[in-house]
Amino acid sequence: MSVIEVRQLAKSFWIPSAKRETVREHVLHVFRRRSFERLDVLRSVSFDVQAGETIGIMGRNGSGKSTLLRLLCGIYRADSGSLDVRAPLTPILELGLGWNPELDGVDNVMLIGTAMGLSLREARESLDEILAFAGLERFAGLPLKHYSSGMAARLAYSVAFKAVREVLVLDEIFAVGDQEFRARCEARYRELSARGHTVVLVSHEPRIISTFCNRALLLEGGTIVLDASGAEVVAEYSRHMSGR
């Protein structure tokens, strides 16, 4: 049974010749015409993801990977096509960035945990486990502005791994933290995968895709150019990158 069904999904961004982001600019330049350049980030992308499957997505920078993930997560809205996600989904995207720097570790866990689908009670009960997974028990009361970027990212991934629902969407998940933390993430990921969670995983790292994904997609210029096994996609991606 497919839990994600994507049909001819397309997404464009309109880039104006001159930016107008304020009321003042709109009023002052009301009679000045501006042109728009259409940037097609995704063009007619179609694929299915079966329940329990781990699917990898590879592609150069700008090939549309992150936009595709944001569409899957409902953070962006598609221009056309259809997207059906039939199970609750937990996004783990760019988590190292953007916390509330004035709040301490505990409050940030509560904030992002509840935003990611943990109930307040679950967030409270899992607090020690989350901090232990991130290896940040000693710094729980410290405002985030005093954390290093690696520490903040570790905390974010720990929360997200706790908040996991049926489908997991991961963006460059294993590029965070030191070797020990990455190993812990990989172990946790294997555990979730073994429990039958469906996983959509974006990575530039060939080892990650070939190790974890039984199937992968290669995106190029906003379209899927290859839908094959992880190993085949890795080989093709390496050929693309070396320009052969």
Binding site: V23, I75, L89, P91, T114, M116, G117, L120, R121
Partner: protein, 261 residues
Amino acid sequence: MHAATTPTATRIDIRGMLWTLVRTDFKSRYHGTIGGFVWALLKPALMFVVLMSVFSLIFASTPHYRLNLIVGLFLWEFFGESTRTGLISLQSKGYLLTKARFPSWILVVASLSNAAITLVVFALTFLGYLAAIGRAPHAAGLALFLLYLALFSLIVVGFALGSSVLFLRYRDLNQVWEVVTQAGFFIAPIIYPLDIIPERFHIYLYLWPPTPVIQFSREVLVDGGVPTFKAHLLLIAMAAAVFAAGAAIFRAWSPSAAENL
């Protein structure tokens, strides 16, 4: 062709998230100290005492005027602060919007909490004062005052919903709103009695939402009267219209909010 996008939403503990947002907002505003918490609650009560003392000296011969002035100032303060924070609410919590999927109206509603707490403390202080001087409003007056506060809140929520998504597209909207509220302070009859304006202009002043709320509140709390049934219907219609307009703008533009951050 339009996209038929149906990502299944992860179930969100809305109450839990709302509480966490309110609590952390409060904490960062008052540096998470007990003193800060007490100050937040005491501030409107102390402001009341200061204003009352000053106005008792300046307007000693016109007790109604000073009470009316205080009601006007506090209701205006609620309107000014809540619309200001509501307008920037999505932008200031943008880091959550780009990482998780949850109903984004939660961010807007949570941003109004501080102004709401101030208003509640003021209302309790003011009613306590009226009771102490033997001028407690009658039960119907009290119920009507609560109705006005509820309608005022509905107006503010509607404004905050609409303006929060517009602010992501028009980045100086907060500055425009600041100018509007400065003018609005004088449009609403806060420091002057409405009677000094010719009656034929009253209708225009009543179109500015704080005006009917302030006037009606004064009537039930200070003057002991009750506005007409028709006046109430018009206020309800205004609150419903502002809320509906704000909600419609929010509904149309909030799905693409993350793209405009």
